[in-house]
């Protein structure tokens, strides 16, 4: 009787262990694992959206293919993150010098209601001249954000206004439109500039 109980406990323990291992496998390597591709931006060639740049030109993902590209999301009514990102990028572009002229640098608004073409033109004029500002109908902004796997959300503020939460990373693509890497928000320039150089060199290597 006692032996059977011990065996029973042993079997139960084994069962629990097996179940634990199974659950672990399911969540890490099995069908329950988070999809690593889910968070990764699509290649530019697989994206589909139609926007207008700050000079009134019709633009889309295909506009960017052929040159290395830097893209980030923001809005011009953003007092902290967006001017910081724009001035960081302006500084990186200054470091790159003439090489910066070989890149597309695009700021896509997540707040098209306030960021009209004119508002974008006004705003980007204060930063590095390579930076282009893109806006468009909300549905197209949503499609763009979806392609980049970026997210944004409108949040009301105390004064009756609203602010936007949004992905603050900078996306880097090579000339073919493949993602090279991402630069985190406010990443120091000693890390950011080599990443941009990588996007530029991958372009050169592929071209030769």
């Amino acid at each position: 009787m006692q032996r059977r109980t011990a065996l029973g406990y042993g079997a139960a323990a084994l069962g629990v262990m097996g179940l634990t291992l199974f659950v672990g496998w399911w969540r890490v390597d099995g069908p329950g694992a988070p999809d690593p591709a889910g968070k990764r931006p699509l290649p530019l060639s697989a994206m589909d959206f139609r926007l207008t740049d700050h000079e009134g030109n019709q633009v889309g993902p295909e506009t960017l293919i052929g040159r290395p590209t830097m893209v980030f999301f923001g809005f011009t009514y953003c007092p902290d993150v967006c001017p910081t990102t724009l001035s960081d990028i302006s500084g990186w572009l200054d470091d790159l010098g003439d090489e910066a002229a070989r890149m597309n640098v695009v700021f896509i608004t997540v707040d098209p209601e306030r960021d009209t073409v004119a508002a974008m033109a006004d705003y980007v004029s204060y930063f590095h001249p390579a930076i282009r500002g893109w806006t468009g109908p909300e549905v197209q902004i949503a499609r763009a954000a979806d392609g980049f796997r970026a997210s944004y959300e409108r949040v009301p503020t105390e004064g009756g206004d609203y602010t936007m939460n949004h992905t603050a990373s900078v996306f880097l693509f090579d000339a073919k439109g493949e993602l090279v890497t991402m630069i985190d928000y406010h990443e120091p320039r000693e890390f950011a500039v080599p990443k941009i150089r990588r996007a530029l060199t991958e372009d050169v290597e592929e071209a030769t």
């Binding site: 007092p79 993150v81 204060y126 949040v155 503020t157 992905t167 603050a168 985190d184 406010h186």
Partner: protein, 155 residues
């Protein structure tokens, strides 16, 4: 709060001299350094100001709010960026600074958010910003307005 013309005049003089106005109690040991802000485009967009607030005294001080002629609704906000790279901004509430410690208001973290600007923030100008503390003390700092693409107190 009603101030005599003499006190207001003195405060204004001290502000012009770039000194902190005298505080009432406790918070007189607060020093504000490296204040700066970015120029605005008009008055529709909120501005932001940055600085280091140092408590040189022996007692903890609690920063409860901001006032300024420049903005009808100045508030300390905090930017947070989560693991997915999504940034959000929320009112920071009261901020306690322990003796000998300092709190940095800097891009990407805490900042003085200047909502409902009354005047445009023009590069090269300065504006007074008053920090209010739980002991009733106030510290006024003259904040330089740098270019819209400024990255720090040096521009």
């Amino acid at each position: 709060m009603k101030k005599s013309p003499y006190v207001s005049g003195l405060a204004a003089l001290l502000m012009i001299a770039g000194l902190a106005a005298p505080a009432l109690a406790g918070s007189e040991d607060v020093i504000v350094e490296n204040a700066w802000s970015r120029a605005s485009i008009g008055v529709n967009r909120p501005g932001a100001a940055y600085m280091t607030i140092r408590n040189t005294g022996d007692d903890a001080v609690t920063l409860t709010g901001l006032t300024s002629q420049l903005a009808a609704m100045p508030q300390i906000h905090e930017t947070k960026t989560n693991a997915d790279g999504v940034s959000s901004m929320t009112p920071a509430g009261e901020i306690t600074i322990e003796p000998g410690e300092s709190v940095a208001l800097e891009p990407g973290g805490l900042h003085a958010m200047l909502m409902k600007l009354q005047n445009p923030m023009i590069e090269g100008e300065t504006f007074p910003l008053t920090l209010t503390f739980s002991d009733g003390g106030e510290v006024t700092v003259e904040v330089p307005i740098l270019g819209i693409a400024a990255r720090g107190p040096e521009g």
